[in-house]
């Protein structure tokens, strides 16, 4: 096993390439030797005990390596990452090698017990946990310092020797998945379990949420259509629609938690223990003692980070927010100008011109959001967070606040300062539709088109001699390594979050928003699926049990929407006619109703259990069993101790 890496071109029947490692061109031979040696070395010697094969390219370059592992090694890896699988009695349990026979579909010769995505996740985990022993630096690169316990792969990545690591696509599986996902036109659910098998839980959960959210919006859309068509603006119908929307948005967010628990229980991630979090790759500092692990590793004082956050990042974010408001004021000037122009000219062209400022503003908003995104990433990475989770939280907070203001400030201004409901409706429609079109284009269609062009060129160049359409491994690797990298579900969730804002914040003014959201999401499912399958490199599977901070973000949005909708209703002429004598009574009533709705919201969130009863029972059963096992063990010990 240990020498397989040097037996270069020998045919190995058991070697199934799973992960691709691309080293920088011209990496020193010494470094390559050392790195591959560390990867194949025995666990006992501090290696990862995986299999490595160089990929022989036509031009003779040897900077690409394929990594695989023996079946046994993968099973042991599954135990060390804490994978949860289904047992013969249909319960979900943490996989251990010693209890392997009790798991469903396990057989010593069944190499499909672990899905390919799981195998790739295990290999990634093992590679990342390959740690320096007594090396002081990476051989051949004295400037790339190492210290005992430092992840070798992370150092190789940060010093640019390792270009990228990515998992290979399985072309057969992908074909099947594509067919059942978006290959034929059909009405039905997405094959979430297959998506999860192929792309892992994080991505499957995003598509699950997208689908759920689309279905959840349908009642709002269906109820909204007659309001728009018949222009029902009677007081009673109007208030009913808004109240329904507010309660509905609470219910769907609570029910999502339950559905999410059902899915992640089935996938095993609900039960997976959190692993100890290592410092993120970009983290740097002077060597010191980590108070938690007692190991020597880079330490960065929390006070200096706080200073960076509060004295640089916070003012910068505020400046950006101010700039965004400034742009908004320019938009209103433009709007006024277009209105004046229309009043002067009164032509078809001038009435079309009325929409131009909104469209320009929507495009500017999208551009600003994207530029700010880069700034936020740079700043958050400069804040030097030790953990990936803390980095993500600070990034998400920065981006959310800005995007929220950038997208909704003009609407708030129109609604609560200008009191112009007609303009609000028009701006809302323009913003929503423009941003949806822009997003669909920028996110999927453009990359797809670029990718297709690139692929054609590649094929022409490489397969000019061959006739079969099936790609060889070398071609596949070459094609995939040039594909774009999928940077996670952040942007996708953000888009949904903003859409939820458009739909719920001003739902009683523009009931058609939900209709557009539903239409957009249906195409979004297809374009996102296309993006995952054809445009990007296969991403590593990431086990997750929920949508994390996004749940909180959506819930906060639904609280804000209670406030805005109550104010909008209070401002509507229909409601105002009910209180002809006293504005005061009107405002008091609105405030009272708002507080009642908020109270109902919180009580509902409290009363609806986060997990369905049968999942609760299954979890309690597992907990009971582990406590019982512990007790048995203690009893045995006690009996022995008391015998003396």
């Amino acid at each position: 096993m240990a020498e397989s890496w040097s037996v270069l071109d020998t045919f190995e029947p058991n070697f199934r390439p799973l992960v691709v490692i691309e080293l920088a061109k011209g990496t020193k031979e010494e470094t390559v030797q050392w790195f591959t040696k560390r990867i194949v070395d025995k666990k006992a010697n501090g290696g990862a005990q995986l299999l490595v094969k160089p990929l022989v390219m036509e031009n003779g370059g040897e900077n690409i390596y394929l990594v695989g592992a023996s079946h046994l090694r993968l099973l042991l890896g599954a135990e060390s990452v804490g994978l949860v699988k289904e047992c013969n009695d249909n319960s979900m349990r943490t996989f251990t090698y010693s209890s392997r026979k009790t798991f469903k579909d396990f057989a010593d010769d069944n190499h499909n017990f672990l899905t390919m995505a799981e195998c790739q996740y295990i290999i990634k985990h093992e590679l990342e946990n390959l740690r320096a022993k007594d090396e002081k630096m990476i051989p051949g690169y004295p400037q790339a310092k190492l210290y005992p316990g430092k992840s070798v792969v992370r150092r190789l990545l940060t010093s640019g020797i390792l270009v990228q690591i990515f998992p290979l696509h399985d072309r057969e599986e992908l074909k099947k998945l594509r067919h059942s996902w978006y290959g034929r036109v059909k009405v039905g659910y997405q094959p979430l379990d297959e998506i999860r098998c192929y792309f892992g839980e994080t991505i499957a959960l995003y598509f699950g949420f997208l689908e759920y959210f689309t279905f959840a919006l349908i009642p709002m859309a269906v109820i909204g259509i007659p309001y728009y068509v018949f222009a029902w603006e009677d007081y009673d119908k109007y208030v009913m629609f808004a109240t329904f929307n507010l309660l509905w948005s609470t219910v769907i967010l609570e029910v999502w938690k339950r559905i999410c628990a059902i899915m992640t229980y089935r996938w095993g991630t609900l039960l997976m223990k959190r692993q100890f979090e290592e410092p993120r790759p970009g983290f740097h500092g002077v060597l010191g003692i980590n108070p938690i692990t007692g190991r020597e590793e880079p330490v960065y004082s929390s006070i200096r980070r706080q200073i960076r956050i509060y004295l640089v990042s916070l003012p910068f974010v505020c400046l950006c927010l101010y700039f965004s408001l400034y742009v908004m004021m320019i938009y209103f000037d433009l709007e006024q100008w277009a209105l004046d122009y229309h009043e002067e000219n009164e032509s078809n062209f001038s009435s079309l011109m009325l929409f131009v400022p909104s469209i320009i503003y929507a495009v500017v908003i999208e551009i600003m959001n994207r530029i700010y995104r880069y700034a936020a990433e740079f700043l958050t990475s400069w804040e030097n967070h030790r953990l990936e989770s803390s980095y993500q939280n600070h990034l998400i907070l920065k981006v959310l606040v800005f995007n929220f203001l950038n997208c909704f400030a003009s609407l708030f201004y129109i609604a609560f300062v200008l009191f112009d409901m007609k303009l609000l409706r028009q701006s809302l429609a323009t913003l929503l539709i423009t941003s949806q079109i822009l997003n669909q284009f920028a996110e999927s269609l453009l990359p797809y088109w670029l990718q297709k062009r690139h692929k054609k060129r590649m094929k022409k160049r490489m397969c000019s001699l061959k006739t079969d359409t099936d790609l060889s491994l070398v071609e596949q690797v070459n094609l995939e390594k040039e594909m774009g990298t999928y940077f996670g579900t952040f942007d996708d969730y953000l888009e949904l979050f903003l859409q939820f804002g458009y739909v719920s914040l001003f739902s009683c003014v523009y009931p058609l928003a939900a209709v557009f959201a539903v239409l957009n999401n249906i195409t979004e499912i297809y374009s996102d699926a296309l993006k995952m399958c054809r445009v990007y490199k296969r991403p590593f599977a990431e086990p997750t049990a929920n949508i994390g901070v996004w749940q909180l973000a959506f819930e906060t949005m639904s609280v804000i929407s209670v406030v805005t909708n109550c104010i909008l209703i209070g401002m509507s002429p229909q409601v105002n006619t009910l209180f002809p004598d006293s504005k005061m009574d009107l405002i008091l009533t609105v405030a009272l109703v708002e507080h009642l709705l908020l109270a109902i919201k919180f009580i509902m969130a409290f009363v609806i259990p986060d997990k369905p009863r049968d999942i609760q029972i299954k979890l309690a059963k597992l907990e009971f069993e582990s406590l019982e096992a512990l007790k048995q063990q203690q009893m045995k010990l006690a009996a022995e101790s008391l015998k003396e």
Copy 2:
């Protein structure tokens, strides 16, 4: 060991009585034999392996038994309840017998390693976990059915054979504790660690909270005094006071979580694993299979419980609420009558009469609260909850809602319907002071006086022949078994909760409330201490890590108080003069300020970490170590498996 229970009067040097068991008079000999046999029987035979001695009474009655345990047995018990103790390296770890040498102050002959309260908790745990094997009933009592796995002690209790189980006081320790707690008049903190050693964590945490809360109220009281004395009712000072109160109440509740974490970390309960919850003693149902444990035990359908809750309990609670409001209206009639009387007569007597309705109403409220409490307990127990925690939650919810309405409805009515600030101030003062006096009297002084009279009578009867003042064991047991039982911290927290309501809900109207609360709490500490040490039986220690649902209750109260204070400020004449032209602007401003304050509250609660940084690091360190140990174990296994 096994025969010690029958060797009746032999002197045993190692036997230290810890817990007293009182059986019903005339319990059949057969039953006593069987029960004591089960208690002393070996663990391997399903016994508890404890020591039992009958207490020989003067009148020859033999229905009282003393339970103790060997030192080794207690150490093994400490492991099985999952006790957390301090190690030699000052970290807190779960105690295991095999790692006993690493714990601070451990020595094989040091019998003070476990505190007496811990020993008693262990014995209680072992007795409660004494389970039926193949007995179909309690020998001698065919109507008291048993099934395998049923807790014997619980069946004995519910069938009335076992009268009570209680832990013995340690007169020496108690004397020391009393001295340092309230023996001398001094300014300083309570000896919380000693209270915890003697009474356990739940009670120590209550006293810790009481002390913390009193200190936290001092700033409010100090700032409140000049407002009252100089009648500062300028707009700016007024609003500042209310804003300070609102933010302060958020801060103190957040900081309490941190202080609580520090204390419970030191006490080990923060790290203690939750034990699997057995059905509560009163739970009954038909025998069925528990889906979680797979054991045969009583099962009661959740739907029938829901029906009882929603069709009986809920209407009953609503009826009580209605009745409480009805009583309130009578109070307002009385109030009106007193006012009329005063206007007619204008004498000293008639001006005194003005306070009479409030005092009567305060007394009636207290009486209604107490009667309702019994009804709520009866109803909740009739709802037949399976778990003690679910029973407690439903009981607390019922009691809180009623007490809140009963105590505060009249104040809300006066403030927001009558708009009579003078009456509000007067009612608030009367209610607060009367309820405090009533509580202090009913809770501590009355029982203390009764107890003292009883003790004197007992002493006269029993020690008429003896001259020494020290009580013998027999006398001690006889005295303690007649003492009242302390039913937990529920009433004490409830009192603090209502007090918090009086202080915070209308703080800007009556700044002196905090002063009265502080004064009351200082005497409350003493009277509660007296109650614990002299009036009640020693309670069993209960490990807890926080004040549980009360944290939520206090936080909810502080949210409600933001709303009420904002409205009160908006209604004040000082603020009204600022908006002479438009009531509408005033209301809008108030609503805006209220929303801002609520938002600040939530952000503060989110930003302030629940645990101090050093506790976080300690917890992370422990988690890291256990993950590390697991990994080591897996690595070893992996290395072995891969060797083949």
